[in-house]
């Protein structure tokens, strides 16, 4: 780890002023990703601005039935909050499906959005990686790709976004509120993360001097929502494939569907193709399968992650079937 200076921000204003004046500074939320990456010499900030004491820790109900979640809310507090558990079960389940209790206790909402890929070549300083070292190449192509993406990837980078929480947020039309000395703006979660294209090192719409202050969820279209995560062991592993879904059915017809995929793309993947097929379709296994096939139609794979395409289809179908049959999910 390189030497750096450490600044504890007592308030948002100080945090914003410090980041605006220091060219190579990073915010520190829970530290569960940044501390690790600094130790591996992947992140090399000159200044670390500790924002963990900023008063952005509220979970507040909004007038229209939505909820605002402060950027410094711990992942464990988010998952346990009654408003979140009852209105957005998919969010609770996604958070509890990620990492371990010890990590969720430290990890913040803002940090979860900005956590970096788990591509093992990205972590290995000796490997070529366009994300870490633009223009150096991509060691994953032709390498070990079990954890890599099949949708939205490019010839420059096939890394998957590792977050579970973000998949649920993408399905639910969340918006991210960000602030800098220049003011405040809102970014839809589905536009927050970028696809790699030819610039995989540009990962998000966030400017270097912007702070994520909160995430807002609109009122849920239905409280019947669910997160299903497939991984190499029963707990404590990143997703091979995950599905966040919300489904409303009236008279055996789908009247609302929200679907997003994790583990398969460089960003939390809102499954708009599948949603289009589902809306107005009969709520049957056949419709679910057609929706899954439509979504995966554009998938491309490597030898090591070819299995993900069919696994994603089946996981979509299984999640929708769960929502249809499990009355307790209502």
């Amino acid at each position: 780890m390189r030497t750096f200076s450490y600044v504890r921000a007592p308030d948002v204003e100080t945090a914003l002023r410090t980041i605006a004046t220091e060219p190579n500074a990073k915010f520190l939320g829970g530290g569960t990703n940044l501390v690790d990456l600094m130790r591996e010499n992947i992140e090399r900030p000159d200044v670390v601005v500790d924002i963990s004491r900023l008063p952005l820790t509220g979970i507040d109900e909004l007038p229209g039935g939505g909820v605002r979640i402060g950027a410094l809310v711990r992942n464990s507090s988010l998952a346990a909050h009654p408003l979140v558990r009852t209105r957005y079960p998919v969010v609770s389940q996604a958070v509890l499906g990620g990492a371990s209790a010890q990590l969720r206790n430290m990890a913040t909402v803002g940090g979860n959005l900005l956590q970096r890929t788990r591509c093992l070549y990205f972590y290995d300083e000796a490997s070529a990686c366009n994300k870490r070292e633009p223009g150096s190449g991509c060691s994953a192509l032709g390498g070990f790709t079990r954890n890599h993406g099949v949708l939205g990837v490019s010839d420059h980078c096939i890394a998957a976004h590792p977050s579970d929480l973000c998949v649920a947020l993408a399905a639910l039309d969340a918006e991210v509120e960000v602030e800098s000395t220049r003011g405040t703006r809102r970014i839809p979660l589905t536009e927050f993360h970028h696809l790699p294209g030819s610039t995989p090192h540009v990962e998000t719409a966030l400017a270097p001097d912007e702070l994520v202050t909160s995430v807002e969820l609109p009122a849920p279209v239905t409280t019947r929502s669910r997160y299903r995560k497939v991984r190499d062991r029963a707990s404590y592993a990143f997703a091979l494939v995950s599905v966040a879904a919300a489904l409303e059915v009236r008279d055996d017809t789908v009247t609302a569907a929200r679907l997003a995929l994790g583990g398969v793309a460089p960003k939390p993947w809102r499954a708009t193709e599948a949603e289009r097929v589902l809306l107005g379709a009969p709520a049957t296994e056949e419709s679910f399968r057609s929706a899954a096939e439509a979504e995966l139609a554009s998938a491309t794979s490597q030898d090591g992650n070819d299995f993900k395409i069919e696994l994603a289809r089946r996981t979509i179908v299984a999640t929708l079937r769960d929502l249809l049959t499990d009355r307790s999910a209502a």
Partner: protein, 153 residues
């Protein structure tokens, strides 16, 4: 920098702490508390688990400065004098300790679980301890220990 932190109920101070040190390093190398272990230093194994302000955290991923002014409770702070905490005693009794490297982290994680859920199901025990890896025991004796501790508390 100077670090002030309350550890196991005592106010402690460490000087000349480098910004890049972890809370784990400070506890082990500066405050003489080697109970918490350093195995992976990546948040993967849970050997370094301590209470930070009453919730378990991987101290290897906590930058020293993050702990300023906060309360830490390590495995050394669980026993009452010579009397082991029931969780510690049941680890000994069940034979849940082989090389012992994972034990302090598991004891803290199990202690926290039983504080929150006095009579956990096996499913709950497994999930609560998922962040603590053990390379020796195969976990069965650890599960026995937690079940016994739940009964003893």
């Amino acid at each position: 920098m100077r670090l002030n932190v309350t550890v196991n109920g005592e106010r402690r101070q460490a000087d000349d702490v480098w910004e890049g040190e972890s809370l784990l390093y400070v506890l082990r190398e500066r405050l003489g508390l080697p109970g918490s272990k350093n195995a992976c230093e990546q948040g993967e194994c849970g050997s370094c688990t301590v209470y930070l302000d009453d919730v378990p955290a991987c101290s290897c991923l906590v930058a020293a400065g993050q702990a300023e002014g906060r309360e830490v409770r390590t495995v050394e702070g669980l026993a009452e004098g010579e009397a082991l905490d029931p969780v510690q005693q049941s680890f000994v009794d069940a034979g849940a300790v082989q090389c012992g490297f994972c034990t302090p982290g598991l004891v803290v994680a199990a202690h926290d679980l039983l504080d929150r859920v006095p009579d956990p199901s096996d499913e709950e025990i497994r999930e609560a301890l998922a962040g603590n890896l053990c390379r020796c025991t195969g976990y069965e004796k650890i599960l026995d220990a937690v079940r016994t501790a739940a009964g003893a508390r």
